[in-house]
């Protein structure tokens, strides 16, 4: 039940927030360390993939990808009504990803949206948001 990372992607597909969480146990290697540029590219790719997956549905229209499973981790995507995507990368056995993403969304609404100095769709530079996220994911240490 380990969270590896959190991304917030704006409605244009640009990465506005990215955080990697420290992995507690030794056998759990977690994810590879990447440069911030690489995260930007990956977020854009994910945005495109999300759009295509909603188009591919055999039953007409549907949502985009919500959970993507790899062999050692999985990615849970929460799409808000405004087009913002919250992406949580966790270990495979994690069942609480959706709930955590709801809480992240709440923290986002409280500290970022209500911040009068925050420009929409721009990278998030809010200390309060960081504090809240750390508090949410601190129990895995």
């Amino acid at each position: 039940m380990v969270a590896y990372g959190l991304w917030v992607i704006n409605k244009a597909g640009g990465l506005v927030y990215q955080k990697n969480f420290p992995v507690p146990t030794i056998p759990d290697r977690g994810l590879a360390p990447l440069t911030s540029n690489e995260y930007l590219v990956l977020a854009g790719t994910l945005h495109g993939i999300h759009a295509i997956t909603s188009r591919l549905s055999p039953t007409g229209s549907g949502s985009g990808a919500q959970v993507i499973e790899g062999e050692t981790f999985k990615m849970t995507i929460h799409l808000t009504s405004t087009g913002t995507k919250f992406v949580l990368l966790t270990s495979l056995n994690d069942g609480t990803a959706e709930i955590m993403l709801q809480r992240v969304y709440e923290a986002y609404a409280d500290t970022v949206m209500k911040n009068p100095f925050h420009t929409l769709e721009m990278p998030i530079r809010s200390e309060l948001f960081d504090v809240k996220i750390n508090a949410l994911f601190s129990n895995q240490l």
Binding site: L42, I49, R55, T59, E69
Partner: protein, 191 residues
């Protein structure tokens, strides 16, 4: 509700569907490899399409099948859908590999209306299956593997008449089609 296909060299070489509620539109004749599918390009009265002359026969019926397809303007033509599927699979694989840092591929992804499962062989064949979102992923991975080691090995790889790795024709083997069909229909998870 599910359908499956396998892709090599960015071309879809086999397609079969079971309970698809929205049929794909007929693909343009030049783009779909002959022998890939019997379901998209055929008007209902003429199901016994002779696939060795696949391209010619289908073109004559294109007028009638396009009538039905015109109503379904939201669904993609089959060949475009195949390209999109391949694109999604390739991009997702690269993304998962980059993120994990190890040589691993993605296994499946779920949306609110379907789930896509991928099984890749060491030789590069990708077996893709669409199912309903509730399907348990482990079972499907095993099923795709069984399709590979069962009907595929039996009727395609060991068939001296089929050119593997061909860029000009799909896998149009009746035995393979019926064997896969029988195998999938016999599964407990098939509704």
């Amino acid at each position: 509700m599910s359908f499956g296909s396998s892709i090599r060299h960015c071309e879809c070489i086999f397609y079969h569907d079971w309970q698809r509620t929205k049929k794909p539109r007929a693909g343009s004749e030049e783009a779909t490899l002959p022998g890939v599918t019997k379901t998209s390009n055929v008007a209902p009265e003429k199901l016994s399409l002779n696939t060795s002359t696949g391209v010619v026969v289908a073109a004559a019926e294109a007028a009638t099948s396009n009538q039905q397809a015109a109503n379904d303007s939201n669904s993609l033509p089959f060949d475009e859908e195949a390209k999109l599927v391949y694109g999604v699979v390739l991009s997702l694989r690269n993304m998962v590999k980059k993120l994990s840092g190890r040589d691993e591929s993605f296994v499946n992804y779920r949306t609110s209306t379907y789930k896509l499962h991928l099984f890749e062989t060491i030789s590069g064949y990708k077996f893709i299956m669409f199912t309903d979102p509730a399907a348990t992923a482990d079972a499907l991975k095993y099923v795709l593997r069984q399709i590979y080691t069962g009907p595929f090995m039996e009727f395609v790889v060991r068939n001296p008449l089929i050119t593997m790795d061909s860029r000009t024709s799909g896998i149009d083997n009746e035995k393979f089609r019926t064997a896969t069909d029988k195998m999938i229909r016999g599964l407990s998870i098939f509704a």
